[in-house]
Symmetry: C2
């Protein structure tokens, strides 16, 4: 009997580590997760996840490789380096540890880069050679595709769009600087904006998140709509500036904020076109990602291997 070929997609997040087996068409044949915080030692997590992956393969599936997405993932070294959202210290050679346990090629990159490749292999960017992929979650992540390849730069850390400073002395950022784009344009940033529109903070007992603000906007609440407009205006300008660097064909938005559809896309596109240099006007689309929230992490990570296999054929 011929074995069906799959790759493993592993996404290491601050809360959960999700993983699964994915075939060439992007079908997820198996998915599972562990809680990252249960593993103070990264080697233990890698051991347990690898065991579960090997068990899921059974006799029917052939593992061609493992792709790993992780915060502060360094593609060149296959390491996670000083990730602020993980409890692990220092530099961890995650790719080689997984490779040894799974006995296959392992590729690691940061989570936004993995999602960008996922969009290219399985999503709306199929056939595109130059695009930007922007995740609007807790922070703002970004993967830049140039000539069909991820832009890694000299040290593997290119594409930190979330930490472009948009206002000198602006909002304090987790990176210890001020005015970074992600303090305004992210699921967290819009909450700050929204709350600032109220004279008194009466929300102390409610959970305010991007979804809450989206629902208020649907109800027609002015502050909620204005929070999206303000966020879109800043995001549109930042994306227009991004175009001047890499001249992409399209920009994909993914994550919590992108789920607010026109509330965020309309002001973003308006500000984007208004701020674009003439030579770029009316030719770059800002589109929603076609990766689904719940499968994007596994698909993105697994696509690292599928992309690599296709390149070598």
């Amino acid at each position: 009997m011929t074995q069906r070929q799959v790759t493993a997609g592993i996404d290491i997040g601050g809360t959960n580590t999700v993983f699964g087996l994915v075939d060439e068409a992007g079908e997820i044949l198996h998915a599972d997760f562990v809680q990252t915080k249960d593993f103070p030692n990264p080697q233990d997590l890698i051991g347990v996840v690898a065991e579960k992956i090997l068990a899921a393969l059974g006799n029917n599936l052939e593992l061609l490789g493992a792709g790993i997405g992780a915060p502060n993932g360094n593609f060149y070294n296959g390491t996670i380096e000083f990730a602020p959202n993980l409890k692990w210290n220092g530099i961890i050679p995650v790719a080689s540890l997984f490779g040894a346990k799974l006995k296959c090629k392992s590729i690691l990159t940061n989570d936004a880069n993995a999602a960008a490749i996922g969009e290219m292999v399985f999503g709306a960017a199929r056939g595109m050679k130059n695009f930007l992929f922007v995740t609007l979650g807790t922070g703002l992540g970004c993967g830049i595709i140039v000539n069909g390849e991820l832009l890694y730069g000299h040290d593997g850390f290119a594409g930190e769009l979330g930490h472009v400073i948009v206002f000198a002395n602006g909002r304090p950022c987790g990176c210890s600087r001020k005015g970074c784009l992600e303090t305004y344009c992210s699921a967290t940033g819009i909450v700050t904006t929204y709350i600032s529109f109220f004279k008194e903070n009466t929300f102390s007992e409610q959970i305010i998140d991007a979804k809450f603000i989206y629902e208020k906007a649907l109800q027609g609440e002015e502050e909620a709509i204005n929070a999206f407009n303000y966020t879109g205006e800043i995001l549109g300008l930042a994306l227009a500036n991004s175009v001047a660097y890499t001249s992409p064909e399209a920009i994909f938005l993914f994550g919590g904020l992108a789920l607010a559809k026109d509330f965020i896309f309309k002001p973003t596109r308006e500000s984007f076109e208004n701020n674009l240099l003439n030579i770029y006007k009316n030719k770059i689309q800002i589109l929603p990602s076609q990766l689904k929230e719940n499968s994007a992490a596994i698909l993105g990570a697994s696509s690292l291997v599928w992309k690599n296999l296709k390149k070598n054929n």
Copy 2:
């Protein structure tokens, strides 16, 4: 007798079109120029320049190809498109016209891109794979090298760093928008800054340019020194933001402003380091270009062909 192999470097500028023959080591064997404005019809200019190049070849030199640098040059199409500083209208197929006259391969790109490749082939970026090359002349031009190749993007117009908006509603720019980086950080931008430091504009009869301000700074004039500091502060922040996109190994500064040495490099480097994200700190050098002002245009344009020949070997 064996012929010595050369490539032609042709730089089409608003005032002059300079051209020359360059050997593999970067030696300019012949150089000449015509005044661009003498040729209302671009085909006439191309005819005259090609004739002069063919005459200079004589029997001793073998022409391997022609590289052309030009404002608004489009690499993908080999065209000059709607260049505001040239009198020629519309889209002109300059590369194919030169190719037909010179009977050789012709490659065209914009002038800053050509200079970036010149730095990589003949200058201080030899051996580097990821760097930014910034020209601080009348405007601010930029060539971005990623993985040893110029970043062109989807339409060939990547690298327009001069038109990143640094202040919403800032200084009016020639591109019809406001607050573009080049309105602050260029030989023209620093003049605006310098004059703004004086309550009364008593300079109407003097020519104020970057060189004038440099000389005043050398004499210890506070306004001149402050003009460099102000320019460097904005440039340093903009370059720190650039790093977040492409994560380069080094950034080279070229052109009128860069000649002011420490007056511009010191405040630029200071602001750059202060504004860099932690992961990039203390590892990216800001360096003066090693291309000489008077030969850079020819070397840059000719390097397009030398780079191409090396890639194909």
